[in-house]
Subunit: 212 residues, 2 copies
Amino acid sequence: MPYLKKVLPQPEPVDCRILTAALDLFVNNGFHNVSVHEVQKQADVSIGSIYNHFGGKEGIARALYDHLLNEIQDLVDCAKEEKITAVERCNEIIRQLFNYTETHQNIISYVFQPRHNEFLPDEPPICNSSPFVAIREIIQQGMDNNEIRKGDVLVAFSAIYGGPIRMINLRLDKIIKDPLPDLLDEILDCIWQGMLVTENNSEDNIGLHSVG
Amino acid sequence: MPYLKKVLPQPEPVDCRILTAALDLFVNNGFHNVSVHEVQKQADVSIGSIYNHFGGKEGIARALYDHLLNEIQDLVDCAKEEKITAVERCNEIIRQLFNYTETHQNIISYVFQPRHNEFLPDEPPICNSSPFVAIREIIQQGMDNNEIRKGDVLVAFSAIYGGPIRMINLRLDKIIKDPLPDLLDEILDCIWQGMLVTENNSEDNIGLHSVG
DNA sequence: GTCTATACGCTGATAGAC
DNA sequence: GTCTATCAGCGTATAGAC
C-alpha cells in the first residue's frame, strides 16, 4: 500500500529510533554508563530488536560513528564545492561546524568529545578519518598556492582548526555562553591575522572579517 | 629509624604504587575498561589496600586527577614567576606542556584526553579548573597591557592554546611523529603571527621565533 | 522481525582473619 | 594496615515463543 505510505504520517523506523535514543544517551551519560536496557527503554523497542539490527551495544556505537562521520564528510565536501580558495574553504567548514554545534549538538558532541577507541577497538583516531584527511588536503593545497604559510601540515591544521575545535568543546561544556556563530568572525581573525597587537587591530577589534 | 630511611633504597609506598599502576592502566585502556582487580594485580597490592587508601576505583581516579592538576598548576605558576609579559608566559607554558608530553606522557594523557565527568561526577569541566583559569587570567592581563589583541577571553584562549592542545592530542595519538618541542617555534609563530602568507613569511619559514 | 524471560560472567565492594 | 575469600548486582547476550 504505497499510497498510504505517502499520505499517513509514518512512525520512525525501528533502527532510526534506536540510533536516536542511543546517541542521546551516549552523549549525555557516556557510552560506558549506558546499558542496552536503557537504550531499549528510551527507543521503545525490545532488546531482541537491538541485537537483530546492530548485534549489540558496540554495534550501535559503530553504526552511529560511521553515520555521523559521513555527515561531517558531506559538510567538508560541500565547502569544497562552494568555495575556491583554501582559506575560504577552511572558513566555510568552521562556519558549518559552528552552526552544527548549535543545531545538532548531539552529533558534534558524539564526534568531537569521546575517545572512540575506548569503545570502538581498532578504529583509527578520528583525526585520521576521511573528513579530517580531506581537511588536511585543503590545507596542503593552500600551502602549494602560497595562500597559507608553508610548514608542517599537522601544525598548520592545529593552528587553523585547534582554536575552533577548542571553542566547540568549551561550548559543549557550556563554558562559552554565546552561540558559536556569533564568535565566528573573531576567531577567524585570530587564526589568520595572529594574536599580537598590530596596526590593524590595536584601535578596535573590527579587523579583516572577510579575509579570504 | 630515620637514618635507614635515608640510606637504604626504599620500596615505593603502597599508595604511590597504586596510583602509578592505575594511571598507566586508565590511560592505556580507559577508566571503564579497567577493573579494580587489574589495578591490584599491576600494583602488586591487595584489594583491601586499595579500598583502605582510596575507598574504591573512583577514589583512585579522583586522587589522580587532583594530583595531576596540581602538577599542571605548578607548571603555570612557574611560568608566571619566570616570565613577565603575557606572551612570554603563554609561550613558556606551551613549551613546558610540550616537554611534559614527551617526558610524562601518561600525565598529559590523563589530564587532556578523557571526559572526566564520565567517571568523576560533579567534577567541573577541566577548562574551569584552577590552572586553566590561571591561564585565562594571564591572557586577560595581556589584553589589558595591550600585548594581546582585545576580545572575548575564551576566544583568545582557544586561539592561543587550541592549536598546541590539538598538537598534544595528535602527538598522543601518534599521528604527529616528531617530538613536540621540535615543532614549538613553528606553532608559536602561527599563533602570534597568523596563518596568512605575509611579507614576513612568504620567502622562508623562519619567521619571528623569539616573538615576545 | 519482534518480543519476554532467562542465563551467566564480571565487577565493584565487603567481611573478617591476621 | 594488609590480605583472602566471598557476595550481590548489573549488564551483555541468548533462547525460544509468537
